[in-house]
């Protein structure tokens, strides 16, 4: 594999990792606050559809992004209502949200655009276009660093950079602010937080809302950045891979970045089977690459490579003592 091919694969890795990373950090906020969320997939799907649809109708990708976030927040609202207010089973609520999203998006897409459950293709300002960072073309011919800068670092849509920026931001919010401390505490021991006079319900709803905003951006990136429009079931299990990445990262932001880059790399490789063959000189089954994130997660989860311990109060509804 030559240098340029490597850069291309890494470039594609970065693009494939972005929705995973945003969804993974979304799950991080929710689960650190004690709310399991297997509905990441559904929220992304709703956001992808609404952002694609609204961006097409309004012609502005930013309005589309807002609509996507709004749709994802609505789903978060249902999840919060079920799992916080009515103390229902968080896993079942997540399953319901995934089905609801898979159904509603196609129904609405068919009803609005009648194109077999997809939105029309987005062009121009209705899509996030690649940004060329300063001097990218000028430095293109500098050996080694030039192509690296031009191919890999420059030339992504704004949301890719946003996703990368959310990593340190999440770390700072969770581990360096009072809000973050409380959020983590509510996922470990909500009774203690309640005793300190802080509302468990409000904190958890805030966490679920942050999760909604981030999955909203992730979904919008799918429909308006990675691809040009919404296709039915376009998230294709990315919500679950993000969940796997979250466990892989043991619920820590920087590790989430590593995990998502790894899983994104596997996805990028699956798109380029020719590269694997020419490099390793063996045929690697595409299906194995597809399954690898899940297999790795099972191994991690089983504690064969370090132990993944979830937030202690995760999945448990909090019942206030009377």
């Amino acid at each position: 594999m030559d240098y340029l091919t490597l850069l291309q694969v890494l470039d594609s890795t970065l693009r494939m990792s972005t929705p995973l990373l945003l969804a993974c950090l979304a799950g991080l906020f929710s689960e650190r606050a004690g709310i399991f969320d297997i509905g990441l997939e559904g929220k992304m799907l709703v956001a992808a559809f609404l952002s694609g649809a609204v961006a097409f109708v309004s012609g502005s990708v930013w309005i589309g992004l807002l609509a996507g976030i709004g749709g994802s927040l609505a789903m978060s609202g249902i999840h919060g209502l079920a799992s916080i207010t009515f103390r229902g089973n968080q896993l079942i609520s997540g399953v319901a949200i995934n089905f609801l999203a898979a159904g509603l998006t196609v129904l609405a897409a068919q009803s609005w655009f009648a194109q077999g459950g997809r939105t029309p293709s987005l062009t121009g300002a209705a899509r996030f276009n690649a940004i060329e960072l300063p001097f990218a073309t000028a430095l293109k011919d500098v050996p080694v660093i030039g192509p690296l800068y031009y191919e890999l670092i420059s030339g992504h849509t704004i949301l890719v950079y946003v996703a990368l920026a959310v990593v340190p931001l999440s770390w700072w919010v969770l581990f360096r602010t009072r809000f973050g401390l409380r959020l983590r505490a509510v996922g470990e021991n909500p009774a203690a937080v309640d005793t300190a006079g802080i509302s468990v319900v409000r904190l958890r709803f805030t966490a679920v809302a942050i999760c909604g905003v981030l999955t909203g951006i992730a979904g919008a990136y799918m429909a308006t950045g990675l691809q040009a429009g919404f296709i039915k079931d376009m998230t294709a299990g990315r919500g679950y891979i993000a969940l796997a990445a979250l466990i892989f990262a043991k619920w820590r932001p920087w590790h989430a970045l590593t995990a998502c880059l790894l899983f994104g790399f596997l996805q990028a490789l699956a798109l380029r089977p020719d590269v694997i063959e020419s490099t390793l000189h063996i045929k690697v089954q595409v299906q194995l690459l597809d399954a690898l994130p899940y297999i790795l997660t099972v191994i991690i989860l089983a504690g064969f490579v370090g132990r993944a311990i979830p937030p202690r109060a995760g999945g448990e509804p909090y019942v206030k003592e009377r």
């Binding site: 009515f86 399953v95 089905f99 609801l100 898979a102 159904g103 196609v106 068919q110 194995l288 099972v298």
Partner: protein, 370 residues
């Protein structure tokens, strides 16, 4: 004191949940510019209007009875088996191998052999997550989700690279031998002088599904093992104190659950397609969750809920044929049923409980005054 009478818990609460799901679905249909009344009528007619349609409804229901029972059995031991889809896929692999490589003389032997194979393959796919949960503490929900994807990749590989007959382009096994052909309702009812649609896919595995319901009922409520499973499900510390081995409970409940999910393949792979195709399960593993929730984890409830969902699937398919409403409407209804009977159960339950409590207090007061 019971908060409400048993009939309210078993019938009223699920019916209210169903009604809420129905009203919201009607609003969705209105929102996409169609008439809910007309849609409902087409669905009912499409699901139950003729013997042919009933044949499809019961065919789907057979799938859902198996996956619903699978989820229900695991629920009794407080395990959430979300991996029915993967287990049913593996069950399909078991059926395909048994039917292709063993020369069965008659379908009655073939169904036994294929049944054992499908149950064993399904159980295998459930027992690994169960063991990991019991021994290594990895969460069963996450592991079973991961196993769904691994199963899907595995089957994709096997069908594309290994099991596909030479010269065939389609990723599917060859047609099973004629001797493994299961009698459908038409074949079964003809000797009794009852005519049934020849083309409908409902087949003898419906009877196996009903037998599985009896088995689950006996297991859960009439056996020592079932008692231990329920005790473990209610309170792990109490069960442990009573000498019940948690590892054994997790592994056994998930094995039975996986075997039931795997046996679904008798219906869809052996009974209907008569070969193994890609994505043969079509989401039936997930519908098991809705069926178990709706049926309150009781075999009788599971049968009723499975027939309801069978009708929903068949009706939804006809609706998509006859109108502009996509078949994904079924997913929305399914999601709403899961939401109201599962996650928002308390929202429905609490007002009902309050109502009965108020009535009882009122009655007691009236008695006192008299």
């Amino acid at each position: 004191m019971e908060k409400m009478p048993k009939w309210a818990d078993v019938l009223l609460v699920p019916l209210i949940s169903l009604l809420l799901a129905g009203v919201l679905s009607a609003l969705v249909i209105l929102a996409i510019g169609e008439s809910p009344g007309k849609a409902l009528w087409i669905m009912i007619d499409g699901a139950m209007g003729s013997k042919y349609n009933w044949g499809y409804t019961l065919y789907y229901a057979t799938n859902f009875i198996f996956t619903g029972l699978a989820v229900a059995v695991a629920f009794h031991a407080r395990m959430f088996n979300i991996g029915g889809e993967g287990q049913a896929m593996l069950g399909g692999l078991g059926v395909a191998l048994a039917c292709t490589y063993i020369p069965w003389p008659h379908w009655s032997l073939a169904i036994l052999g294929a049944g054992v194979a499908s149950a064993a393959f399904g159980a295998l796919w459930a027992v690994i997550p169960a063991w990991l949960q019991a021994k290594r503490g990895s969460h069963i929900v996450i592991t079973t989700i991961m196993f769904n994807f691994i199963a899907s990749a595995l089957l994709n590989y096997l069908l594309v690279e290994v099991l596909k007959p030479k010269g065939s382009m389609e990723p599917a096994t060859g047609k099973f031998p004629e001797a493994t052909h299961l009698p459908n309702f038409h074949d079964m009812l003809a000797p009794l002088g009852i005519s049934f649609s020849r083309g409908a896919p409902a087949n003898v595995s419906f009877i196996i599904a009903l037998l599985a319901c009896v088995f689950v009922w006996l297991l859960i409520w009439r056996s020592r093992l079932g008692y231990e499973m329920r005790a473990f499900g209610h309170s792990e510390p109490a069960a442990r104190y009573a000498g019940i081995n948690p590892t054994k409970m997790i592994v056994i409940s998930m094995t039975i659950s996986g075997a039931l999910a795997g046996m679904m393949a008798l219906n869809n792979v052996m009974g209907e397609a008569e070969r193994l195709v890609l994505n043969a399960t079509e989401g039936a593993g997930f519908i098991g969750i809705a069926v178990a929730l709706m049926g309150r984890n009781h075999p009788l409830g599971v049968v009723l809920a499975a027939i309801l969902f069978g009708a929903l699937y068949q009706g939804g398919a006809i609706l998509a044929q006859d109108t502009d409403i996509p078949v994904q409407l079924v997913l929305v209804i399914q999601a709403l049923v899961i939401l109201f009977t599962g996650a928002l159960d308390n929202m429905v339950r609490m007002p009902v409980e309050k109502f009965f409590l108020a009535r009882r207090l009122g009655a007691a007061k009236a008695k006192k005054e008299a």
